[in-house]
Symmetry: C2
Subunit: 352 residues, 2 copies
Amino acid sequence: MSPRRVTLAEVAEHAGVSRTTASLVLAGRGRELRISESVERRVVEAAKELEYRPNIVSRSLRTGTTRTIGFVSDTVATSRLAGDMIKGALEAARERGMMLFIGETEGEADLERGLLQAMSDRQVDGIIFASMFTRAVKVPAALTAGPAVLLNAVPKRASALSSVVPDEVEAGRAAAGVLLDAGHRDGIHLIGAGPRVRDVPPEALAGVERLTGIRDALGQAGVRIAGGRVCPDWQPEYGYEATRELLERARPRALICLNDRLAVGAYQALDDFGLKIPADVSVVSFDDHPVATWIRPKLTTVALPHYELGRKAVEVLLAEIDRDREKTGQEGETHRVPMPVRIRDSVAAPDA
Amino acid sequence: MSPRRVTLAEVAEHAGVSRTTASLVLAGRGRELRISESVERRVVEAAKELEYRPNIVSRSLRTGTTRTIGFVSDTVATSRLAGDMIKGALEAARERGMMLFIGETEGEADLERGLLQAMSDRQVDGIIFASMFTRAVKVPAALTAGPAVLLNAVPKRASALSSVVPDEVEAGRAAAGVLLDAGHRDGIHLIGAGPRVRDVPPEALAGVERLTGIRDALGQAGVRIAGGRVCPDWQPEYGYEATRELLERARPRALICLNDRLAVGAYQALDDFGLKIPADVSVVSFDDHPVATWIRPKLTTVALPHYELGRKAVEVLLAEIDRDREKTGQEGETHRVPMPVRIRDSVAAPDA
DNA sequence: GGTTGTTGCTAAACCGGGTTAGCAGGCGGC
DNA sequence: GCCGCCTGCTAACCCGGTTTAGCAACAACC
């Protein structure tokens, strides 16, 4: 940015002191180094008058810290939900005077390498390595060099990196709990996974964990899962198909859709069969995608706390940076962020 | 990042030359400054062997350029579409070896000021000032200092800043064109604006321009707009209400919804009245929000080219940076990015 | 042989801060 | 009167690059 900035030297001259003195005063080390009050005042006033702002670039050169963190993700665009994750990270960073570099790898190894390098070249203080859907990732070697945190991802093999993920198991329990609380005991079907533990789509962790939580809560209540279908992808059309198939041979009382997009498809299939939600069939889901409030009736769903995930990642990373030196090489922690239930209009008591 | 980086001095020593020579060679100025081929080779090899990467921070200190641009927006999270804008900017930046700082103002003036300052402190080469929906913005004073571009926004009063916006007028023409091409001549209603030019929601430019384009194309074909309703907000519920009201007193043949969320509401209202899309009523819309492919039938819509907008903004900004000195203080240009039509299943010929 | 040019490289300054070592000057104690 | 100590400040170096000015060594020319 063009208009020449005021430098420390100018402030010092204006106050009639040396650059050293000005630097010390502005760094708050005046007392400690016995600078007289009158000089201190002169410096502070000169700085204010000239609207002095230290050049972070030059400071970084000396101190090695840039007050900048890198946010690397596989992609932000495909999952619209992810914006909130960045937003949370952004705000948490701003509150602490840090800025965020953003980068996308598109899942390509060489882009990833280039990006991490570009960030390292710019001396970032740490890196948040984010995935747009929860999964196990291979930790790039470049990450182990400096402070870093995995976001919405866990390391494939043991690693010193900490990770921040949504608490999907608890979310599964919560979703099942919503149905149990409403009085459902029979005819509970799953769309997108189950009924057995192994019936989940590969790669995504959410499937496994949500299913685990669901089975756990229902099992504890002595309730049997009536059925379930794996879907090749968690998109509306597969939810639609799975639900149609189900309706052709059974009459469910409640559906647990493994995410909101599947629920959109389920809604359409239920409509085709003339079944009313929630009077005939209750529906619960996961994610709290915006579409959940657009469909009728509004969908009760367990929200992915993207905003909170982003915040938490920054907090964990900064803690990591602070105690950088004591790097005891032990394994990183896994921080689980709770997923809140959004009660809306798609669940009712089963009619007797 | 911790593991000490190789410095230029080390490369120079390893090659047995001065830092100056090493710097010149690696900057590609060896030929120009008559460095012998053998020395050049030694330096390049030393650099490769030591895996030397220049420290951009220190380079920036000297050259005043950081190969970094700031992306400031009012908010990325509320409009999920906006992720693509950032993505486009990100990729265009990466292709040119630049990184992106991201910041959000939340529309608050002091956050905005702080953010622009933080970026200036970090010596960004230029700033992209983005709005998440197209509108006229008051250009912050801090922006006029250095190279900057408005994205998805135009300046409220004449400004030297260039802007990049979607070509909404042309989009309006295109939407109307889709209906005309299908043979529609009567019973074309607008949801969300119109029928008169002044009937648009305030603030958002998209309304005005889309309406202008629609009126233009229909007028040119000698077709009259049968009716229209302004909606206080372009959300599904208002689209639903507006369409219900319309259906209670008329039988439209085609709806032009001013955006996809309104169209979602329109779909629901049409369904309530037992009207089939597109057999009974055709629907066209704007934005190409992901939901457009989730509803049945899939929605024909004119897409907001978010990705392209982001790319274009970076291109325009970099051009601006390059010819920075010649700043002739004239007014900035407005770059209009075309909005492509996504033909899907919601438009058919009117039955006779 | 002295002047001028060219070739091939380097010393040193510079960017704007942070930091270490140390210097004047006044004071008290022996 | 000399020594040591405290007070209050600053000279000088550092970070890691870029850039300017200039210096040897040798060749060419008159």
